[in-house]
Each structure stands twice: as C-alpha cells, then as structure tokens.
C-alpha cells in the first residue's frame, strides 16, 4: 500500500521526454567534442584523431545515416536484419516459454536435462557459428538460429523460475476448482509467470538484435551486420557506429511494443495504489 509516488501525469511525461532528449543531445555533444581532432588537446589518446578512429564522428555518422535513407540503399539490409531479429525473438521466446513450462512442471525431465541445458548455455555461440551455417545455410535461417540460442536461454531460465514461484495456495485453489493440468498451465502457471516472461523479454529484444547482427558479421551477403563488417575492413568507424545506432533505434521500438503488451497484460498487478489527488 505505498502512496501514489510514481503516478505520472501528462506534464511529468513531457518533462521526462525533454530530459531524455537533453541527455541524448548532451551525449552527442560530448561525443563530438571528444572525437573532434581539433577541438581539444588529445586526452586519452596520444594522437588527435585516434578517438575518431574508434568512435566515429557524430556529424559523419548522421550524414551516413541520412545518406543511407536518401539513397534507399539501407532498406534491403535493414529489412533482412529486422526479419532475422523478429524471427529470432519470436522463436526464441515461444520455445523458451514452452520448454521452460515443460521442464518446470516435470521435475524428472528437468533434473535429467538440467546439466545439459546449462552446459549448452555456456557454449560460445560465435564458435558454433560454422555449425549453424552447415545446418541452416548462409541465409536468414542461420542468423535466426544464432539469435534463438541467445533469446531462448534468457526466456527459459525466467519461465522456469517463474513457474516455480506460483503461489501454492492459488494453485491448490485452481486444482480444487477442477482445472485440468492443461488448464492449470493456461490459467495459473502462465499468468503467474507472466511478469517473469516480460522481464526476460526486455532483455531478449536486445539479444535478438545482437544475434542477428553477429550472425551477419560472421558470414552473410546482406544485412546491417554485413554492412558493419564491410566497413570495419576499412576502419570506417562512422558506418559501423551508424549501423549500431540504427539497430538501437529499432531495438527501442521493439521494446516499446513489448512494454505495450506488458501494460495491457499486467493490469491486474497491485503496484501502487492510486487515489485521486486534487
């Protein structure tokens, strides 16, 4: 029963956005100053333009982004990466939820498989990439697979724990009300583990992008990761940074969608109690 501390009116929301924008501008300015060869005496680096070599220069980065969209050259790559990301996200989430539920609910299977799951999670994906290429080819599928191996575990571990945190009384009540195992799953375990799932989804969004880009980076003919790889070959850090920024923006978009779903599905949660204030 905490007080209505973080209820935020429209005005607060606007101020928040302003804050965020300010912070963004500030960061860009710092970035600009630090990477501009002429503005400052070199601080961290011994040479003037070394900072730019590693971090790119904001003006050129934004020019790059602008040019990508104006020339339209980015769309095909972006499309590929987004498709890979979304597929990895969806497949990883669904399989993580399904297998997480399964193992959480069948103690024997989980006890037997537990070490295998943990061992697989400890395997470096980058090194496994060639095997993915063999199994899934060089197209979208292998990148999706790589992304899935990242997303799956995040979701899996949370679902697994979330299910085991179900209130024993609520569970017993549902059983007494005649819920079949299937209905228990749908009406008790899943809703109860929902906030665990969402916590993992916020993390998964990012890693789905990472999976797609790294997959492309390791071997591909298209995609933002491919562009980044090409640019790296010639130390074109501006393009690298532009690619990363572009993907970050889309990651935020996807995360916003996840947040939307979360707010819709979690209305029942007793967060803060809102009394009307005048």
């Amino acid at each position: 029963m905490p007080s209505s501390k973080d209820s935020r009116a429209g005005g607060g929301r606007l101020r928040l956005r302003a804050f965020q924008a300010l912070l963004f501008v500030l960061l860009v300015v710092i970035w600009y100053v630090l990477t501009s060869p002429t503005l400052l005496p070199p601080i961290y680096f011994t040479e003037a333009n070394q900072a730019a070599f590693f971090f790119g220069e904001p003006v050129k980065v934004f020019a790059r982004l602008w040019q990508w969209f104006v020339s339209g050259e980015i769309y095909e790559h972006l499309w590929v990466t987004l498709v890979e990301t979304l597929l990895a996200f969806l497949i990883g989430t669904v399989s993580g939820v399904v297998i997480g539920l399964w193992l959480a609910l069948s103690p024997t299977a989980s006890a037997v498989l537990d070490p295998y799951i943990k061992a697989v999670n400890a395997m470096p994906r980058v090194i496994l990439a060639p095997i993915f290429f063999v199994w899934f080819g060089l197209g979208i599928a292998s990148k999706v697979a790589l992304g899935v191996t990242l997303v799956f575990f995040i979701v899996f571990f949370n679902v697994y724990q979330g299910v085991r945190e179900v209130s024993p009384v609520v569970l017993a009540n549902a059983r007494m009300l005649g819920a079949s195992p299937r209905q228990l799953l749908r009406h008790v375990y899943v809703p109860s583990a929902m906030s665990w799932v969402f916590a993992s989804l916020h993390n998964s969004v990012g890693l789905a992008f990472v999976g797609a880009v790294v997959g492309e980076y390791l071997g591909s003919a298209k995609g933002v990761g491919y562009l980044i790889h090409q640019a790296e070959g010639f130390f074109d850090m501006n393009t690298v940074v532009a690619g990363i920024l572009l993907l970050s923006a889309f990651a935020l978009l996807l995360d916003w969608a996840v947040g939307l779903a979360e707010r819709r599905l979690m209305v029942w949660q007793p967060r803060t109690i809102e009394t009307e204030r005048t």
């Binding site: 011994t46 040479e47 070394q50 070599f53 590693f54 790059r64 990439a129 060639p130 095997i131 290429f133 063999v134 080819g137 060089l138 292998s142 980076y217 390791l218 071997g219 591909s220 003919a221 491919y226 562009l227 790889h229 090409q230 640019a231 790296e232 070959g233 010639f234 130390f235 074109d236 850090m237 501006n238 393009t239």
Partner: protein, 314 residues
C-alpha cells in the same frame, strides 16, 4: 552444371580479393552466365567451413588451406589464382626499430598476429626461423585483423605485428611501425619464403569441379579477365570501380595499399608449380598435421581452366 553459384569469402573488402570484387563490379560473372552470391565471413577459415559444410560452393581464399585440408580427408582444388604473394607484412614498432637488425632480434618480443594458427602466424614463424629462432622464442598474441590490431600496436601491447592490409599500411602511414618483412611484394616473398607462393585463389571441392566444369570455367574466365583488367588499370580506374563503401573511411589509404599490393595480384590467374612447392615446404613446418610426403600436391591445384580462359581472353 550450376548457374547459381555461392562464393564464400573471408573479408571481401580486402585487397587480397580485389579480382573477385572487380569481376563482380564489372559484371564479368553475369557475362559468363553466372548468378553469383558472395557471402562475406569473419575470416578465411569460416569461409572454407561454409564450403566444406555444403552451404557455399566455392571459396575465395588462401591456397594453403587446400594443403591444410588434405589430412582431414577434404580434397579441395584451386582453379584460378587472384594473388601470387601472401600479402602479409611484419612490422616492428618504431620505438624498437632502432635495435632491430635481423630476425633474431625478435627474440623474446610480443608479436601480434591476426589469429594464432593463421597465415599471419605462419609467415611470422617462417620469418623468425630464417633468423634461427624457434616459435617458442617469441610470444604470440592474437590481435585480429581490423581495428583491434591497430589498437594493440598503438597502445603498446605488442612489440611487433604480422598482419595484412590495410592494417599494415595504416600503421605504416601513421608511423607506428617499421616494416621488416613484406610478402606484399614478389621480392619480399622470395626473401621470406624462398619462392613465390599462391595466395588468394578460388578453390572448390574436387567433386564440385568434376561435376561442374562449365561453371568452374565460367568463374575462371571472370577472374582471369579481372586479373588482366587490374594489370592495365590506373589507380583511378580502380577507385571508380570498387564499391564506394570501401573508400568511405580513407580513400588515400585504399589507394596507397593498392599501389603496394598491385604487383602481388596475379596477372593471368595461373598457379605456378614453384609456388605450390613453396607452400608444400612452408606449411608442414607450421602445421605438423600436414606431412609433406602424404600430400597429393597435384590434387591441390589445376591450371586447366586458367589455360582455356587465357586462350579466350588475351
């Protein structure tokens, strides 16, 4: 016969594979009736794996891998050459350059290579052996092929570096290193390895070549044409032809490197027997699994297609 060919390459933008890029940009593959997909990989060995695994058909990569693969029971054959020198250089940081006289002065130093076990490592080992040093006399650090390699040198984490272009040119231009061995030139290659050595090639499983001679011929034709085009092209021609994104960062750097490696680019795509023998001599000392006696050298390359291509495109 395959019309849709999938080529795997590790680091497509590199000058090592310039003929491939040129042939692609000038539409030579299309003219040969091929529909080419080029997948770019993080490294040459990854590209090779893609072909062995069957997800790509042809590798654009270093010749030496055809030798490395034979003990694994994988028979790969090189059918056209893009470069005739490994295009790897070794440099020592400027601070230490003064004390450096000969390879044996590298003793006890930390040397960066692109990856342990890679060609840069091999060339380095061979180079120090000319000074009478054993591989264990230096400590080798994997520093990657790109910005990480530059970082390692500039931040003083390594005393010397064995790497490819554009890393070496960049470091050279910035004055961070002094080149002490250079297989980007024919003469340098002769010095370090005792002979020419095939570098960037197109190769494919023997099976593939047997089953698709027409396709292989078409690929060879395109590359040979590109080889020849480069020989006659001015730097400006090259700048105009390569994808713009290669030049974004530093046009001067690209040009500088190009001039440096131009002579290492094969003029006609022919793999020289001498070159193959150099490889056979060098590689077993580095990769003990490759035993010179057991290697069927004749299986590792063929000039059959190149000859026909040269006949067609004078």
């Amino acid at each position: 016969e395959k019309k849709d060919v999938h080529v795997a390459v590790g680091g497509k933008a590199s000058l090592y594979y310039l003929p491939l890029t040129i042939a692609e940009q000038l539409g030579y593959f299309k003219e040969e009736g091929l529909n080419l997909t080029i997948s770019d990989f993080a490294g040459g060995s990854q590209a090779l794996r893609a072909v062995v695994g069957g997800s790509a058909d042809v590798v654009s990569g270093a010749y030496e891998h055809t030798l490395n693969m034979q003990p694994k029971g994988q028979y790969l054959q090189c059918f056209v050459q893009q470069g005739r020198a490994p295009q790897i250089a070794i440099g020592i940081v400027t601070a230490k350059a003064k004390e450096y006289k000969s390879p044996k002065d590298l003793k006890g130093l930390k040397v960066g290579v692109s990856a342990p076990g890679s060609s840069t490592h091999m060339i380095l080992n061979h180079f120090i052996s000319t000074g009478g040093l054993k591989p264990s006399d230096i400590s080798v650090i994997g520093v990657g092929l790109g910005a990480t390699a530059i970082t390692a040198v500039k931040s003083g984490q390594v005393d010397a570096v064995s790497n490819t272009d554009p890393v070496m040119t960049k470091l050279e231009q910035d004055g961070d290193i002094k080149i002490i061995a250079d297989t980007r030139t024919l003469r340098g290659t002769e010095q370090v390895l005792g002979g020419p050595m095939p570098a960037g090639c197109l190769y494919a499983p023997v099976d593939f070549i047997r089953k698709n001679p027409g396709t292989v011929q078409a690929l060879t034709n395109a590359i040979v044409r590109a080889d020849k085009w480069i020989q006659s092209a001015s730097p400006q021609d090259v700048l105009r032809t390569v994808p713009e994104s290669y030049l974004l960062a530093d046009k001067a750097l690209y040009l500088f490197s190009f001039n440096k490696v131009k002579e290492a680019i094969s003029p006609d795509g022919v793999i020289s027997d001498a070159g193959a023998r150099t490889a056979l001599k060098v590689i077993p000392t580095f990769n003990p699994e490759v035993k010179a006696k057991e290697i069927k050298l004749e299986l590792t390359y063929t000039n059959e297609f190149v000859k026909r291509a040269n006949a067609k495109y004078k």
